[in-house]
């Protein structure tokens, strides 16, 4: 385009077919640059007009384009963009004295929950410090059965807590319309009792143990949520606020005092534990009544009707424990550690009676997996590749969520096969060394579970770093020499940090939390080819081969130092 070309506004007139004198069009016929520009403007105007038309046709469309059905609009516009350094990405709702947000920590790439006190802490420093100190105390708790507290602070005068976010369902949702068998109820309550015993040992009280505050997460683990929040909220709130919580589960001493939950003691938690057990078996809270007032009245008198509990055919020991935990006098209740011990003893005996030892985790998972169970029975091959679970910082996670694997991590590898089918599990390390793994087999009706290591403790990962591969080969075992002959002389090619390769039916599928960068495509391809090569050699000996390849790096410097036991 040069000096004599028409300006953009003149070209716009031409582009919108409004070139009165035709001067611009005449010019454009001999000027490629202007023709091109007119075409661009035409497209832009076209795009804007069709956008604008889509709104005028449908008045509600604007609301839709900005995404919100009317009922959910409140959750679409969080009241804050940022709280401290946390980016707010949504609201989870409000409970008790706090607003609950979904947040992301830009420095720590993980979903978190932030609870922000509804009201500003009273304007004295001591009060604010108490709120932060309480938060910090919660942050010192570290147990797989509770939600980890990451941070505590004050935002615009309002104290907040930052917690781990766990997807899952609470007991109220899990057992909305069905009752678990007493043995499952005992196991669940035993798990919760163990968490409570841990926290009570550190001087922290939960303060509101109810079915709503106990979750079963996606891995089937029981998690006690909102730990210490009842107490914290009473600090957040006022000295003498009314007690919150559901009166159906309220310990009599608190109902009678009508005072803040701040005064809840460990025995109050044990009452909550008993109340939850009562609810699991009977489907109602111990102080259930047609109205809140009546519930409170019953709670005040400590009036529990144990009839339904016994009527449900509950084993005697379980009824007795429930009765003791629900004692009106806090001094007559057992401790949480007591409950945990008794329940563990009892459930172990039950398991013994059935002549099968079943891992607790499997039973808990069953709560979540009810739906999956019958699906599995139709389709015995649910697991397409070996599953690698990593235990890092006391968390059990799927490897694909914490890539790369780190030296010092503990791992278990599991794979399901048809009953009785022989299997060899092979680990090819980054140096190209191969070893067949010792595995344990649990036999089931439809499938056998193969697990490495064969001991109960997960195996610790050692150096070298690079790319590791695990193969699961179905068919009769082969000699070490034959196994080594399946390898090349090279060590596996490098993989990007965020990529995991699945090998099944001689096909490679890249997996991982993120789409791989295009720059990494050639790396992924090379590693895939390498894996295919080994696959074709292994298949000379075996019926079927499945595998996983993943990056393996040195221990994270930031991670806690690991000492070998």
């Amino acid at each position: 385009m040069n000096e004599s070309c028409p300006s953009d506004d003149e070209l716009l007139a031409a582009a919108t077919e409004d070139d009165g004198e035709g001067r611009v069009r005449l010019h454009a016929e001999g000027c490629a640059a202007c023709r091109q520009r007119i075409e661009q403007l035409r497209q832009e105007v076209g795009a804007l007009r069709s956008f604008s038309r889509s709104f005028s046709r449908l008045p509600a469309a604007r609301a839709e384009a900005t995404a919100a059905p009317a009922d959910a609009r409140a959750t679409d516009r969080p009241r804050h963009d940022r709280i401290g350094r946390y980016v707010v990405v949504g609201e989870l709702g409000s409970g008790g004295q706090a607003d609950v947000y979904r947040v992301v920590d830009p420095e720590l790439a993980r979903p978190l929950v932030l609870k922000l006190a509804r009201r500003a802490a009273r304007d004295d420093e001591a009060h604010r410090d108490a709120a932060i100190a309480e938060g910090r105390l919660l942050a010192t708790l570290d147990h797989p059965g509770l939600l980890h507290v990451f941070d505590a602070g004050v935002f615009e005068g309002r104290p907040y807590l930052v917690l781990e976010y766990v997807a899952g369902r609470n007991l109220e949702q899990c057992f909305d319309n069905r009752r678990p068998p007493p043995s499952d109820a005992a196991r669940l309550i035993g798990e919760v009792a163990r968490v409570l015993a841990y926290a009570h040992g550190r001087g922290v009280v939960h303060g509101d143990v109810t079915p709503r505050n106990i979750m079963v997460d996606a891995d089937g683990r029981t998690r006690l949520i909102d730990f210490g929040l009842a107490r914290l909220e009473s600090i957040w709130q006022d000295e003498a606020g009314p007690c919150g919580g559901t009166p159906e589960f309220l310990p009599p001493e608190l109902a009678a005092a009508g005072g803040p939950r701040k005064h809840a003691g460990p025995s109050g938690d044990v009452f909550g534990l008993g109340a939850t057990l009562y609810w699991l078996i009977t489907g109602r809270g111990p102080f259930a009544a047609p109205s809140v007032i009546e519930s409170l009245e019953r709670a005040r008198r400590g009036e529990v009707d144990f009839g339904p509990l016994r009527a449900a055919g509950t084993p005697r020991r379980l009824v007795r424990l429930c009765e003791q935990a629900l004692a009106t006098d806090p001094a007559h209740r057992p401790t949480a550690a007591d409950c945990a011990g008794r329940l563990r003893h009892w459930t172990a005996r039950l398991a013994g009676m059935r002549r099968g030892t079943v891992a607790i985790i499997v039973l808990l998972a069953a709560l979540v997996l009810i739906e999956a169970a019958d699906w599995m029975s139709n389709k015995p091959t649910v697991q397409s590749v070996p599953e690698i679970l990593v235990i890092r910082n006391d968390e059990v996670v799927n490897l694909s969520n914490v890539l790369p694997l780190r030296t010092g991590d503990r791992v278990t590898v599991t794979f399901d096969v048809s009953p009785g089918e022989p299997v060899t599990m092979v680990w090819l390390d980054a140096a190209g060394q191969v070893r067949s793994l010792p595995t344990a087999r649990t036999t089931g009706d439809k499938l056998d579970g193969i697990r490495f290591p064969d001991a109960t403790r997960p195996a610790r990962v050692g150096p070298p770093e690079g790319t590791d591969m695990i193969f699961v080969c179905r068919g009769d075992p082969i000699s070490d020499g034959d196994l080594r002959a399946c390898l090349t002389d090279e060590s596996p090619p490098a993989l990007p940090d965020e990529v995991l390769l699945h090998l099944r039916r001689s096909q490679i599928e890249p997996r991982g939390p993120l789409p791989p960068r295009s720059a990494a495509a050639s790396q992924v391809e090379r590693a895939g080819e390498f894996m295919m090569q080994i696959d074709s050699r292994l298949r000379r000996h075996f019926v079927g081969v499945r595998g996983v390849a993943f990056p393996h790096r040195a221990a994270d410097d930031d991670a806690d130092e690991v000492t070998d036991e």
Binding site: D9, Q40, A47, D81, V87, E107
Partner: protein, 195 residues
């Protein structure tokens, strides 16, 4: 093209920029929610997925090579969203069989290209935000020229008469507004003239 300011996509990668993430979330969250809901995910799970997407974006954006290849960010954001959706469904698949079917359908499709829903929602979101921003900062008369001539396709002479301007001035204003809208769209690596 002259880069008049650093784009949001650049700013959000800078840990020192305190407001960028808030803006980023405000911009993309409604889009992500609309898209995820449209895929038939229930409200609670939709919010889970969206949170998961943002959590993944934090490290991913640091790696994302921002170039001016057309619509690349749009596709890339879709890939991250799609990955979060399928992972979420995989986790939920143990809960409901219906979602297992959803997963079978969507996981097998090659996750390279966004579907039409995504492209449509994405463009609408960007255009909506771009137009709002320009409108808020513009002189009412300038905006009226743009709105009348470009958005509503009314004759320039009619607009000129209403506003007491020359026809030429209507085009000068409309063209200025158009170039501001274009700049806004460029900020999001979303070219205005793409179909």
């Amino acid at each position: 093209m002259l880069e008049t300011r650093i784009s949001l996509l650049e700013r959000v990668r800078d840990p020192a920029d305190a407001t960028a993430w808030g803006e980023f979330v405000a911009l993309y969250r409604p889009l992500l929610l609309a898209y995820v809901r449209k895929r038939g995910i229930n409200e609670h799970d939709a919010l889970d997925v969206v949170q998961e997407v943002f959590a993944r974006l934090v490290p991913a954006l640091a790696q994302f090579q921002l170039d001016h290849h057309r619509g690349r960010f749009r596709t890339w954001l879709w890939q991250v969203t799609h990955a979060a959706l399928t992972d979420g469904a995989r986790r939920r698949a143990v809960r409901t069989r219906a979602e297992k079917e959803w997963l079978d359908q969507h996981e097998s499709s090659v996750a390279d290209h966004p579907d039409d829903d995504w492209d449509e929602l994405y463009r609408r979101r960007i255009l909506d935000v771009a137009l709002k921003r320009v409108r808020e900062s513009a002189q009412p008369a300038s905006w009226a020229c743009f709105e009348g001539r470009v958005l509503e396709d009314r004759p320039a002479a009619e607009i000129a008469a209403e506003l007491g301007l020359s026809v030429n001035a209507v085009y000068v204003n409309a063209s200025r507004m158009l170039s501001r809208v274009r700049e806004e769209c460029d900020q999001f690596a979303e070219p205005l003239d793409e179909k």
